[in-house]
Structures are given as structure tokens and as C-alpha cells.
Amino acid sequence: MLTAFDKSLLNIIQTDLSFEKRPFALVAEKLETTETIVIERLKFLKEHGFIRRIGPFFDSTKLGYIGTLVALEVKAEYISQVAEVINSYYGVTHNYEREADLNLWFTLLSPNLLKQDEILETIRNLEGVVRLLNLPATQKFKVSVQFSLT
């Protein structure tokens, strides 16, 4: 179970880690505690799976990558083998089976459009794939997962 202190720490640590020499001391100040306690608690929260990762969130477009969302209709008996091929691509970060005719949805980041086309063409031709919809974004309004813990 998370304590009230953990929740406050998680709320702050989701967005407010500074590029300063002692970032955890700054977090500690906000929580009126010590740097050591912040670090120890973060280790605990990471080890116990509450925190997946600590680090910067990059803007993929500004780093030169092209992203898209792809929806597939896959025959049920082929879904695991199709999912495995999709997962093998380095730029696939999310791949979810969903309850709908379009039953497999994944996101793909590629260094350029040519590479993206090539990957999508391969996937479109996999056995069991009925149709593939490429759904690139036209505008991004919000891109970050942040949870408010109370």
C-alpha cells in the first residue's frame, strides 16, 4: 500500500525533477523531508513496481522520428503470431489487443516515412491480417500520462 507521503512524492516526481546538481534535495524541500529519505523511498517504489522509469520524456518528432497509430483486423487464430512479428520491430512501443473488429492496435516510431511504409507493408501481408489502417496524427493536444494520487 502507498502511504500519503508516497503519494505526494509520486505526484511531484512525475513532472518536477530538475536539471540541477541535487535534484532529490529540491524534491525533499518541497516535501519538508531529507534528500536521503526521498532517494530511499524512490528506490522502494521502483523496486516494488510503482515506478516504471525515471528520466526525460522526449518529443519523438523533435528528435526526428515519425510516429503513427496502426489498427489491424486479425483473424483470432493468428493474433499471437502477428503480435509477435509486430513486437519484433524496434520502433513499436505499444501493442494492445482490443475488443473490436479492429483487434490489434500498435504505435510505431520510424526514422522516416520510407521505413514506416516498408514495415507496414510487411505487416499488411502477414498471414491472418484482414485489413490494416494507418492512422497518423494530424494534431497532438496531449501526450503525457500523469496520475494524480490522492
Binding site: L2, L10, I13, Q14, T15, D16, S18, F19, K21, R22, E35, I39, L42, K46, F50, I51, R52, R53, I54, G55, P56, F57, F58, D59, S60, L63, G64, Y65, L69, A71, A83, I86, N87, Y90, V92, T93, H94, N95, Y96, E97, R98, E99, A100, L102, F106, L109, L133, N134, L135, P136, A137, T138, Q139, F141, K142, V143, S144, V145, S148, L149
Partner: protein, 156 residues
């Protein structure tokens, strides 16, 4: 443009962040550069928008947000901006994009909704529908996570 050191910094910043008093010093030492230079470059990336934010990603199932639904909407072109700005402010919406539609798939706007249960997700979508007047949407609940990772930029 990004130089070779930028790429090295970006690669190393995607690894486990050291949970020590001076994490940037430790990273700088691994890169063989000065701590101040590392911090300066990182601040530069944030200023130019290459870094959107710095912090932790939580595992939402562990922190109690067990249900998530990708919600696809039909939004008239002329309302996309207004709706996008409105929903971006909504705490229960984590991702909010407009996307192209496709033959047989008229949906052109997507929100990711998070809640404790599926039922709560449905209530959230109904609430958005009511507030915006958008009537046509589908909720796509995930049944299996085949892959979920953070992108490893410049590593392939």
C-alpha cells in the same frame, strides 16, 4: 541539429536514472564529460522542446488505474481545435490526438481514458459526450498487453 554527444546523452538518459544524491555527476562521469556541460545540454533540450518533461512514469495498474480505454470519436473538422484544447485540460485524459480517418473507419479523434474500472471509463466517456455534444464514438478496451516499452531513441 543533434551532434554525436547529444545522441550519446539521449541514449544514456533513457537508461536507469541513478538514485543517488548527485545523479547527473554519475551520468556525466560515464559519458566522460563535465557535470555542468551535461546539465547545460539537458536544459537546452527542454528549452527547445526535445524534452517535454523530466520525471517518473508510473505503472498505472499498480497505482490503482486498472482500466484504460482508447476512445475514438468523430469530430467535425471545424471543432477539432476547440475539442482538443478542452479535453487536453481533462485530468482523466492522458493522450489526446486528432488523426486521419480511413475508408470504413470514420473516427478522426482519439482520447486515452484512465479509471479504476471499465464502468468508470464508460462514465467518463459519457460525460465527455455530454459536455461536447459529440455523439459518435467507440470505446476500445484492451484485453491483452502484447508490448509496452519506452522508446529507445538512437539505439538501433
Amino acid at each position: 541539429m543533434l551532434d554525436e554527444l547529444d545522441k550519446k546523452i539521449i541514449v544514456i538518459m533513457q537508461e536507469d536514472f541513478p538514485l543517488v544524491a548527485k545523479p547527473y555527476l554519475e551520468i556525466a562521469e560515464r559519458l566522460g564529460i563535465d557535470e555542468d556541460e551535461l546539465l547545460e545540454r539537458l536544459k537546452g533540450y527542454r528549452q527547445s522542446g526535445k524534452i517535454r518533461k523530466m520525471g517518473a512514469v508510473l505503472r498505472h495498474r499498480e497505482v490503482g488505474y486498472a482500466a484504460n480505454a482508447l476512445c475514438a470519436w468523430i469530430v467535425p473538422e471545424e471543432r477539432i481545435d476547440e475539442i482538443g484544447k478542452l479535453l487536453a485540460k481533462d485530468a482523466v485524459v492522458s493522450h489526446c490526438y486528432s488523426r486521419i480517418s480511413q475508408p470504413g473507419w470514420p473516427y478522426n479523434f482519439y482520447t486515452m481514458l484512465h479509471a479504476h474500472t471499465r464502468k468508470d471509463c464508460k462514465v467518463l466517456a459519457e460525460d465527455i459526450a455530454k459536455r461536447t455534444g459529440l455523439q459518435e464514438y467507440v470505446m476500445l478496451f484492451s484485453t491483452k498487453e502484447w508490448k509496452k516499452i519506452s522508446m529507445q531513441y538512437f539505439k538501433d
